[in-house]
Amino acid sequence: MTDLFSAVDEAAALEDLHNRNMTDGLPVIIPTPARVSKMVLASGQDADMVLGAMGPANGMATLEKVAVAAVMAGCLPDYMPLVLGAVKAVIDPRFDLTEMQATTHCTAPLIIVNGPARHTCGPVSSSYGALGPGHRANASIGRALRLAMINIGGGRPGTSDMALLGHPGKFSYCLAENEEVSPFPPMHVDLGFDSQDSVVTVIGAEAPHSVLFSGDGDDPNQYELLLEILAIGLANAGTNNAILTGGMATIVLNPEHASVLHKAGLSRQDIASEIYQRCEMDGAEANRLCAGFARKTLKPRQAFTGPDQLLILMSGGSGLYSMVMPSWSAGANKNSAVSVKVEADFYCEVPSFVGA
């Protein structure tokens, strides 16, 4: 059973939670037993079901504790399958949660949602401003994961989360792929899931870096320029990926850029391969810029170990800008993304949640 605190009213409870360092610094919904119970009920599963340990505190994530985080974050019960999927993903040993929470690097779990749950457990936005602000599901699902990482995993700035500056995505960092507009198969299908599966993919990611590209319809080779500029943004000489080499990273194409690459006859795998090849750095240059961390080779080296290290999805509004997210690239599993199939069959609708 989760520990219970008491307060004279909700305002006092909020101040108490702030004082206990149990918030992300913003106001939270007070996780009263009634609200948490309804969130648990919505999951259709037992409150004491154990999902696993969250580092660095090694706190045990039970379904009830995750429900507490979801309530505090402002989630609707409908979002619970995605919150649970995200928590399961970061608990997976391949995610290296303990190391990721503790590092001085600015890395945050980016949640990518694919499949029908984008609508049934949301809506999770994949359009204008998907990364915020203004989209309730995106904002609160990512925030619920963060609050679980704080209160179950024990990640607190300056003592156990040593990120030198952090980044705003550490409040929430969640979006969906726009499968209806993308010219490519959904990302989760290319990762081996069925198209009707709902999948949460989580990857440690820096803040989004904008990549400006204005296409030229008269130039049949414009796609090559786009590939080049995406590679420059993703693995410039200041990134861990370029210097340390390795680690998975993320590319979020906007509709226009996805169309340019698709019309050039490229599949998602082709795009990954082309960008991978362009993420090359001269070894001598890497050693000149960062001798303490660059691998001691003078030969050209790739920033990534292979095309499969690049997550590519289509999301966001229409315009000139795609986004790339370089990564920390460290940890025993080298910044691996983890995909979890969302188990939506257990869930039940809970009426009258608001005002509980």
Binding site: P56, G154, T159
Partner: protein
């Protein structure tokens, strides 16, 4: 700190070297891993990138404390 705890768990005397900026994190990790008293020696911060001369000076300064901690570990 995790390395120090892991070595201690398999019976190998170990001293974790922790800079003063990371001392609270070291305490946190040691406690969360169930070994709050794992031996550790405090170093100035930063060390990385401060040059060979400075690193040698820090090594000379902290070596006695490391030896003392290791000897204490054997008691």
């Amino acid at each position: 700190m995790r390395d120090g705890v892991n070595f201690a768990r398999i019976g190998i005397p170990a001293v974790a070297l922790v800079t003063d900026e990371f001392w609270p994190q070291g305490d946190f990790v040691a406690q969360s891993l169930g070994m709050p008293d794992v031996p550790r020696v405090q170093l100035p911060h930063p060390i990385a990138g401060t040059g060979t001369k400075n690193m040698k000076a820090i090594a000379a300064d902290c070596a006695p404390a490391i030896i003392k901690a290791l000897e204490a570990d054997h008691d």
